[in-house]
Symmetry: C2
């Protein structure tokens, strides 16, 4: 529907991290112009965006002024000023994902209530306003240990999430509005990325399996296709379609799910934007709306800043990895490394998943980001 | 060998057209910084390069000053000021391809002499200084009609090439130093892209078959793999390896060849840079040094400016093409279209070559660049 103005549409993106960078990379062959708003003028997108505006995506004026001369506005992070987006929507701009969906998604409490309302399976939960309320609820045996605490807002990449396994961990919990969730007996963590266009057509990428780093609580490895049965895979895709429909979204939605030990699938949380669990699709899949067909089995390794190093990033062992067939390295161009900071990722394509896994493990052991 | 400074190496590219743009796209995942020198500040690379310097790649001072603060200098066009590159090489810069090879390649007369000297099969030829000499040679029956005339310098994309089929065509020949070549009875035109690294390791992409637009004398369709026998394919790859070795090159070399009606392979000409006959590899192949393995059969269609239109480019029929599986559209972002100007290309991936060909033909008929 943009045919007449293609490729002269002005697209604004709130946020210019690695996800914004990958969005710019995807847009470049079509010569679409991507304009970035980010508080950090050294953000990952700086060299590849069509124009850069310095400003915080959480600030009303910054977002509103940035959006005024754009045709479409989208996000690479959900923690943005939705008031400004609502005003821009009233002004006639296209906003994808919709500000109202963003308002729900960026508050993990509202997100859980949304799943409850739409009969989407999710783990049992309760909402509390602060630490005092949580402690009181434990005393009343309204909550029982173990449980998972997630702050309702501003958490990402494992930040704002505490697994309370025993009474001693209680000291560490933050004093903030939070969701308390039952600890699920997890068999596997999987993710399905659904994509919808403005006509409501929906396609899903094949389910992937995520392996988390136990210290940093963020994705270390990803494998595609997930090693799950055909029926679980179909069920997960069906669930992802229900979720994207429930939000009435246009664009990408990463739906993270737990497969529990009893074989149930529960929606954990979603991200309405490019997502870590879809990085491998850059090389391994055709493109949605179009096609999400897989070209190859793949594994993805996040390049996390090596613990013990902080400062200007160095990339050790990169040549050994480059010489491997099917190894695709993505460096995000963040100047400073920190322990467990996402500094890049590597996608491995191979004829079989086990071959991909083996190479991914070699990459993990070989390629280090130090200072 | 750049490990220690990766990804902080400063790479300068002479020329910022679509080939420079594709080079920047390839470098972006590694966060390598590509700096562009081009006379046109609206060139295709403008939004994706790390920095843009306005200046002509054929001007000594422009090239020398541009190169002074770079670590590596390369080209996306061969018609550059090699004197400045030779000085930069003396100053200790890495120049790929080497200026001495560029000096040979950018003069089609020297190129033919080079093949003769290195026993590389090529069509019979003679060199002349101007039109008067050519006409005299015809009178002396030193040359017989039909023949092909190519100006020695500054020709590209069919410009500077005249096929003289009869005496009337003689009026059209340019008054310039030229190569006169015997007209080859062509069965197929094929191309093999060879890639060499600094250690002299060489790999070849699978041979492709090119179909030319008879009016514009430039590539309209490309098919990969070429529909040639295994033995011809091996022979063509062997020849490409000999040619890249003969130039002692590091980087890419596209070797265009004729397969004649008697089954002989003759080298036509080469390009020491990203090349139209390798566009499909962006989506369809693994990467050389690394791997040139094919992931999929593919076809490539050049999007040429529709005859009869000149002005600000419009892209008609693009949505119909986007909805086809495996269709990858590249728009170069040139503001102005002209008849037969290369405005973009489309790569089609498919399970079989005939399926790719069918879709490529649909794209050709559907997607038009008008004004």
């Amino acid at each position: 529907m943009y045919s007449s103005s293609f490729p002269y549409i002005k697209i604004g993106v709130l946020g210019g991290g690695q996800l914004g960078k990958m969005l710019c990379q995807a847009a470049s062959p079509w010569n679409l112009q991507i304009h970035i708003l980010d508080p950090d003028e050294n953000c990952s997108s700086k060299f590849i965006c069509s124009s850069f505006t310095k400003g915080h995506f959480n600030d009303y004026n910054a977002v509103y002024n940035f959006g005024k001369d754009k045709d479409i506005i989208t996000v690479e992070i959900e923690h943005v000023n939705t008031e400004a987006l609502l005003q821009l929507e009233k002004d006639g701009k296209k906003i994808h994902p919709s500000p109202s969906a963003l308002n729900v998604i960026k508050d993990k409490g509202l997100q859980k209530l949304h799943y409850q309302k739409h009969n989407i399976p999710t783990s049992a939960f309760r909402l509390y306003e602060n630490k005092k309320e949580v402690l009181a609820a434990i005393n009343k045996q309204e909550i029982s240990i173990p449980f998972v605490l997630k702050t309702r807002t501003a958490g990402y990449d494992g930040k704002g999430v505490v697994v309370v396994k025993n009474i001693n961990t209680l000291d560490n919990i933050p004093d903030a509005a939070c969701v308390i969730e039952e600890l699920v007996e997890i068999e596997k963590e999987i993710s399905v990325i659904a994509a919808a266009n403005e006509n409501g057509e929906i396609k899903c990428f094949p389910a992937v399996e995520m392996k988390f780093n136990p210290v940093a609580n963020l994705v270390e490895y990803l494998f595609c296709p997930a090693q799950i049965s055909e029926s679980v895979s179909k069920q997960a895709e069906g669930l992802a379609v229900s979720v994207i429909k429930s939000y009435n979204l246009c664009g990408l939605l990463a739906v993270e799910m737990f497969l529990d030990k009893s074989g149930n699938i529960l929606v954990n949380e979603v991200a309405p934007r490019p997502h870590n669990s879809g990085h491998h699709t850059i090389e391994s899949c055709y493109t949605p709306l179009g096609s999400t067909k897989m070209k190859s089995a793949s594994a993805m390794v996040n390049l996390l800043g090596e613990p013990g190093y902080e400062g200007k990033a160095k990339y050790i062992g990169i040549e050994k990895c480059l010489s491997l067939e099917g190894v695709k390295i993505h460096v995000y161009g963040k100047e400073q490394t920190k322990p467990y900071r996402k500094m890049g990722h590597v996608t491995v394509l191979a004829d079989t998943l086990s071959e991909a896994e083996e190479k991914a493990k070699f990459v993990k052991e070989t390629l280090k980001v130090t200072a």
